[in-house]
C-alpha cells in the first residue's frame, strides 16, 4: 500500500518511494538520507501528534507532519 509518511502509525515500517518537493526542504530531506529505496520505521510522535520521529539508516530523525506529506512511502505489510 502506498501512502505518505504522515499517515504511518508508530511501529510501522515502510520504504521511501518518492520525495515530492524541491527547494530547501527537498534538499534537506535528501541530505538526511530520505531518498527513494530507503527503509524507515516510525518510532513515535510528539505529545501533540506532531512532529513525527522515524528511524532510518541506523539513526533517528524528526520532521513535521506537513513535511512528511511530501514523502511517499510503500508500507511493509505486517508479517
Amino acid at each position: 500500500m502506498t501512502t505518505t509518511l504522515r499517515h504511518l502509525q508508530p511501529g510501522q515500517k515502510a520504504t521511501v518511494v518518492a520525495v515530492n518537493t524541491g527547494g530547501e526542504l527537498g534538499r534537506r530531506i535528501r541530505d538526511m538520507g530520505l531518498v527513494p529505496g530507503t527503509p524507515i520505521r516510525v518510532i513515535g510522535r510528539a505529545p501533540l501528534k506532531d512532529p513525527v520521529e522515524i528511524k532510518l539508516r541506523g539513526y533517528n530523525l524528526t520532521l513535521r507532519n506537513n513535511e512528511a506529506d511530501h514523502i511517499l512511502v510503500e508500507v511493509e505489510e505486517e508479517a
Binding site: 534538499r27 541530505d31 510528539a46 533517528n60 530523525l61 524528526t62 520532521l63 513535511e67
Partner: protein
C-alpha cells in the same frame, strides 16, 4: 618547517558526529574562538602538536552537506575553496555511517585532500556493527582512521596520517561518480563549456561547477552569471539539460544526483558493514520512549526546565553576591581616599559600578551555558525542540526558543542577557532573531524590585495574584510579538524543521568545561567593554550638569544651618532631588512629561525610566531620589509608603507603569548583547524603538482604558 608553511588541517563533519571532541582531543587547551569574516558563525581554531611540529587545526561548522542553503554550509564550503587547507579531516560517526558518508562523498567530489576519521567506533561496535576499515579505505581511496574522540583513542594516529597527506601535498583530485546517463551527458557538455571559459579553472574543477549548476546551487549560479559572457553561454544549457532530465526521469536533476550519491554510498556500506546482531531497540531508543512519552515527556521537560532555571540562579547567587560585595567594598575604599567631587563620582558611580555591572552577569552566563552544554551534549536539547515544536511553531518560534524565554525571565527572576545568548542553539535564523527580540519582554530579576515596590504600595492584599498576572502577561506579549514579527518583517517561508535526534550520551567534563568557558569568555571580552562604556555615558547623564555653584552653595548653607539631624536629612534629600532634576536625565524627564502625561507619568517617573535603561533596578533608586527620600532611597518599603501617600499615584498608574517597565527598551547590557549576537546595530536599535513604542501604547491602553472604566 617555518610558520609560513605551517600545515593547516580543516575539520569537517556532520553535527553530532563528535567533531568537537576530536577537535578538543587534537588541540587540548590550545584553542580559541573567533568569527568568520562578516558572519556570526563561530570559527574555532587550535593547534595540535605532532613530534614538535605545530599544526593549525580549523574546526569548520558542523554540516550534513555542502550546499548553498545554510550559512554554515556556505561558510564551510567557502573556507575549503578559498583557503585551501592542506588536508581535510572528515569526522564521521561510525554508528551512523551511511548518512555521514554523504558529506564525505561531497568533499571527495570537491576533490580536497581527505582523511576520514571513523569516530565513535566503540558505539558502533556496541550496536553490533562490524566495520571493515581496510575495505572502506580501499573503496573510498583515502586513509580511514578509527577513533574514540571522547577518550582520545586513535587521535594521534589520525594526526599522523593527516600530516602525512598534507606533506605529500597532493593535487585536488575530484571524485568522479556516475549520476546516470542523462546527468552524466549533461555534465560532460557543461564541463566542456566551462573548461573553455572559467578564469579560476585549475583551482576548482569545471566538473564540480557543472555539478553545482545542475543542482541549482544559487551561489555558483550567481558567480557564473557575474561573467555575463559566460552566463549567456552556460545558463541556457543548464536550463535545457534540467528540462530534459525532468522530462525523461520525472524528477529534478538535484534529486537524481542525491539519489545516485546515496546509491554509491549504499554500495560501499554493503561491502564494509556487517551487522552481527540486529538491535531492535537500543538503550537510547528505550530512554527516548520514556522521555518523549505523551504524558511523562512534557512533565519531565517541565521539571528539566524548572530545574535548569533553579540551578542557574541558585548557582550564580553566591558568586554574584561576592562580586557585589567586592565592588561595594572597592567603591567604599575609593570614597575614603578621594575627596567628594567629579573624580570620585566618576570612579565610584561610573567605573566601579560599571565594571561591577559587567562582571555581575558573568556567573549567570557561566551557569546558563553550563546547563545548555549539558542539554546539548547529552542529546536532550533536540528532544526539547521535538516536544515543544508544535506549540511554539504557532508563534513562528522554534522548539528550543523555550529555553531562551525561560532563562530570560519566563520564570520571574531570569535575565535577558543570558537569555539572548541562549538563542545560539537555534539554527533557523529568523526564528532565532524573533526569539532574541522578544526575550526582553520577560520579567527579569531587575524588574522585580520595581514590581515589588508598586505592588506593596497599591496591591498589597493581592501580591501573588498580581505577580502571576504579570508573568502570564509577559509570556502572552512575547509570544504575540513573535507572531507579529514573523508575519511582518521576519516573514517568509519557515525553514525546514527536519532534524536529527542524536542518541543520548553522557557529557564529558572536558567538553562541558570548554563549552562553558569559551562562551563566557566571549561575553566578557566582547560585550563587557561596550557595556562598560555605555554605563559610563549613563552615569554622566544622571550626574551632569547638576546644580550651578551658587545654588549648591545656598543648599549647603541651609544644610549646615539645620537645627536637628532629621531636618538636615530632609534638606539633603531635597537637594539630591533638585540636583537630579538639573541633570541631563532630569531634563529629559521634564521634556518628556508632556508626551507621557496620557500615561499618567510625571517627570519623576520619566527620569527613573531613563535611568532604568542603565539597568532596570536603577528605576527604584532613582524614583527614591526623585521623591527626595535621600539615604532611604534604596529602601523599597519607604518608597512604597511614599508613593502610596503621593497625590496622583494610584493602582491604575502603578499598573500602567508596571506594564511599561515590562515592555520598554531593554537595558544597556541586553542591547549590547543583541548587537553581538545579531552582528549589526540594526536589531538592537530596532528593539529599542519597537519595545518603547509598544510599551507606550500598552500603558496608554491600561491607563486611559482604566480611567474610562472609572478605575483611576
Amino acid at each position: 618547517m617555518s610558520d609560513s608553511s605551517q600545515i593547516t588541517i580543516a575539520l569537517a563533519g556532520n553535527p553530532n558526529a563528535g567533531k568537537t571532541s576530536v577537535f578538543n582531543a587534537l588541540t587540548g587547551s590550545r584553542q580559541h574562538v573567533g568569527n568568520y569574516p562578516g558572519v556570526t558563525v563561530d570559527k574555532k581554531e587550535g593547534e595540535a602538536i605532532l613530534e614538535g611540529l605545530r599544526v593549525r587545526v580549523v574546526d569548520l561548522p558542523g554540516t550534513y552537506s555542502l550546499t548553498a542553503y545554510s550559512l554554515e554550509e556556505l561558510v564551510a564550503r567557502n573556507y575549503l575553496i578559498g583557503q585551501r587547507p592542506d588536508v581535510v579531516v572528515d569526522v564521521v560517526d561510525a554508528a551512523n555511517l551511511e548518512r555521514n558518508l554523504y558529506l564525505t562523498v561531497q568533499l571527495m567530489e570537491l576533490g580536497v585532500p581527505l582523511v576520514v576519521c571513523l569516530n565513535m567506533i566503540d558505539v558502533a561496535q556496541a550496536r553490533g556493527m562490524q566495520i571493515d576499515v581496510g575495505k572502506l579505505e580501499e573503496l573510498l581511496g583515502v586513509p580511514v582512521v578509527p577513533t574514540v574522540g571522547r577518550r582520545g583513542e586513535g587521535v594521534d594516529e589520525l594526526l599522523r596520517r593527516a600530516v602525512a597527506v598534507a606533506r605529500a601535498a597532493p593535487r585536488w583530485r575530484p571524485l568522479v561518480i556516475s549520476y546516470g546517463s542523462d546527468v552524466d551527458q549533461g555534465l560532460a557538455e557543461l564541463t566542456a563549456i566551462l573548461e573553455g571559459g572559467v578564469p579560476r579553472q585549475g583551482l576548482i574543477s569545471a566538473r564540480w561547477l557543472a555539478l553545482k549548476l545542475l543542482e541549482g546551487d544559487s551561489e555558483v549560479m550567481g558567480q557564473i552569471s557575474e561573467d555575463s559572457e559566460l552566463g549567456r553561454r552556460v545558463l541556457p544549457v543548464v536550463h535545457r539539460i534540467g528540462e530534459h532530465i525532468r522530462r525523461t526521469l520525472d524528477d529534478d536533476p538535484e534529486s537524481v544526483i542525491a539519489d545516485y550519491r546515496y546509491g554509491f554510498i549504499s554500495a560501499i556500506s554493503r561491502q564494509v558493514v556487517t551487522h552481527q546482531r540486529e538491535v531492535r531497540l537500543d538503550f537510547s531508543d528505550r530512554v527516548d520512549r520514556l522521555l518523549t512519552h505523551r504524558l511523562f515527556g512534557p512533565l519531565f521537560l517541565l521539571a528539566v526546565l524548572y530545574g535548569a532555571y533553579q540551578f542557574v540562579f541558585w548557582g550564580a547567587e553566591e558568586p554574584v553576591a561576592w562580586l557585589e560585595a567586592g565592588f561595594a567594598w572597592l567603591g567604599g575604599q575609593v570614597s575614603t581616599w578621594l575627596p567628594p567631587g567629579p573624580l570620585r563620582s566618576l570612579l565610584v558611580s561610573g567605573v566601579i559600578d560599571g565594571v561591577g555591572g559587567v562582571l555581575g552577569f558573568v556567573p549567570l552566563i557561566m551557569f546558563m551555558f553550563f546547563v545548555i552544554a549539558v542539554m546539548e551534549d547529552s542529546g536532550y536539547m533536540a528532544r526539547v525542540a521535538y516536544l515543544m515544536d508544535r506549540v511554539l511553531r504557532v508563534f513562528g518560534l522554534h522548539g528550543n526558543s523555550v529555553i531562551a524565554l525561560i532563562v530570560g525571565g519566563g520564570i520571574s527572576g531570569g535575565c535577558a542577557v543570558p537569555g539572548v545568548m541562549a538563542t545560539r542553539t537555534l539554527k533557523d535564523p529568523k526564528a532565532r532573531l524573533a526569539t532574541i527580540l522578544v526575550v526582553p519582554f520577560m520579567n527579569c530579576g531587575a524588574k522585580l524590585p520595581v514590581y515589588s515596590v508598586l505592588i506593596a504600595a497599591f496591591f498589597a492584599s493581592r501580591q501573588a495574584a498580581v505577580l502571576f498576572v504579570l508573568t502570564l502577561l509577559s509570556w502572552g506579549l512575547a509570544l504575540l510579538a513573535a507572531r507579529l514579527l514573523r508575519s511582518t518583517i521576519l516573514g517568509g517561508e519557515q525553514s525546514p524543521f527536519v532534524m536529527e535526534l542524536p542518541p543520548y550520551r553522557a557529557p564529558t567534563f572536558r567538553g562541558l568545561a570548554i563549552h562553558t568557558w569559551e562562551r563566557t569568555w566571549q561575553y566578557a571580552k566582547k560585550a563587557g567593554t561596550l557595556i562598560l562604556a555605555v554605563s559610563i555615558v549613563m552615569w554622566a547623564l544622571m550626574t551632569y550638569p547638576g546644580l550651578d555653584p551658587s545654588a549648591r552653595a545656598a543648599w549647603q548653607a541651609r544644610i549646615a544651618a539645620a537645627g536637628s539631624p532629621a531636618q538636615r536629612q530632609e534638606l539633603e534629600a531635597r537637594m539630591a532631588q533638585e540636583e537630579l532634576a538639573h541633570t541631563w536625565a532630569g531634563r529629559m524627564g521634564r521634556a518628556l512629561s508632556r508626551l507621557t502625561a496620557p500615561l499618567g507619568f510625571d517627570w519623576r517617573t520619566n527620569v527613573a525610566l531613563v535611568g532604568g535603561f542603565a539597568a532596570k533596578e536603577v528605576i527604584v533608586s532613582t524614583l527614591g531620589t526623585a521623591y527626595s527620600l535621600g539615604a532611604k532611597a534604596e529602601e523599597e518599603s519607604s518608597l512604597a509608603r511614599r508613593l502610596a501617600a503621593t497625590a496622583g499615584w494610584g493602582p491604575l498608574k502603578a499598573a500602567a507603569l508596571m506594564v511599561f517597565v515590562m515592555v520598554y527598551a531593554p537595558c544597556v547590557a541586553t542591547v549590547v548583547v543583541i548587537r553581538r549576537e545579531t552582528g549589526s546595530w540594526r536589531w538592537p536599535l530596532f528593539s529599542l524603538a519597537y519595545n518603547t513604542i509598544l510599551a507606550y501604547l500598552l500603558a496608554l491602553v491600561v491607563y486611559q482604558g482604566g480611567r474610562a472604566l472609572g478605575l483611576g
